[in-house]
């Protein structure tokens, strides 16, 4: 995934949403590509937030240690910030029709910070998260 690729709009005329997908605590997750400035190797940043900590996922050390990590540099009006996520990290398009708002009871009871919706696909569920919302919570 290059920096240039993420400068495009998140939605396309073909009815898809561009996202950057990754693993968080062993769960498939994604953020809007428009919010990501760049993907960096893990070594290049020392002040990073772990995605599991940011979202409030229970720490899954085994997953974190085994999976190779990389950094997503996120855009923010107050200054960019870095979040460490687990690979595979991919720039992909999700059909709008495959994106769903959270069911009411899940909105009420979920403890995940920044969880905005779910995408359903052949690979199962992808959690659509917003790091800026998670940081503010």
């Amino acid at each position: 995934m290059s920096e240039a690729a993420t400068k495009t709009s998140s939605t396309s005329a073909s009815g898809t949403l561009a996202v950057v997908s990754f693993m968080a605590g062993g769960h498939r997750s994604a953020v809007e590509a428009a919010q990501v400035r760049a993907q960096l190797p893990a070594e290049q940043s020392d002040t990073v937030l772990a995605v599991e900590q940011l979202l409030g996922l229970s720490s899954c050390e085994e997953t974190q240690n085994r999976a190779s990590r990389c950094i997503l540099l996120m855009k923010h009006p107050a200054g960019d910030y870095a979040v460490a996520v687990s690979e595979p990290v991919e720039l992909r398009s999700i059909e709008i029709n495959a994106i769903y708002p959270l069911p009411s009871l899940m909105i009420a009871r979920s403890t995940l910070a920044g969880l905005r919706g779910l995408a359903m696909g052949p690979e199962g569920v992808t959690m659509l998260v917003d790091f800026n919302v998670a940081k503010a919570q």
């Binding site: 029709n97 069911p103 009411s104 009871l105 899940m106 009871r109 979920s110």
Partner: protein, 172 residues
């Protein structure tokens, strides 16, 4: 020769033309969906249950209480699935078993509800529904709306509106 109408004829004629007042003696009927949890029978009013679903894949979503099993895809939409057994203080049904999912709607919300098995769907006279006993455990008092007997087994009728509202506010 025109025969004079007798008093009886007049009475009979009046009675024939009279519109009999129809008194509706039908009792209100309530449809119930009866299901089993850990060997005990419970029911939801039929109007609260949109569908009894066959075995469906449930997708786990982290960050939810254990009683919120995940989400299901229902013909292009998604709905949560809750394990009602845990809300009633009973052991959870094994999702891999022959358990069923009821699609419930109440309090402006919709969700799948995991039950051990669906026992029956039947109509009962409203008068057959008894008020819940005062001895009900505290956590059941608000969500139990009545009791009936079916096949010599007590059936606890649950109020799905209240159950969803309470769940939203932390029940289970």
């Amino acid at each position: 020769m025109e025969q004079e109408q007798s008093d009886l004829d007049k009475v009979l004629s009046l009675r024939r033309n009279a519109t009999a007042e129809i008194v509706n003696v039908d009792e209100p009927i309530v449809k119930l969906v009866i299901f089993e949890l850990d060997g005990e029978w419970f029911a939801f009013p039929g109007e609260a249950i949109a569908e009894i679903m066959p075995a469906t894949e449930v997708y786990f979503v982290p960050g939810c209480p254990p009683s919120l099993e995940g989400v299901i895809n229902v013909r292009g939409d998604i709905e949560s699935v809750i394990r009602i057994a845990e809300l009633l203080g009973k052991p959870a049904a094994d999702p891999a078993s022959t358990s069923s999912i009821l699609r419930g709607q109440g309090g402006g919300m919709r969700s799948g509800i995991r039950v051990d098995r669906v026992v029956d769907v039947l109509d009962v006279m409203h008068s057959a529904i008894q008020t819940p006993p005062a001895t009900l455990p505290e956590h059941l008092r608000r969500i139990v709306s009545g009791l009936i007997r079916h096949q010599d087994t007590p059936v606890v009728i649950l109020d799905l509106n209240r159950l969803f509202e309470d769940y939203q506010h932390g029940l289970g």
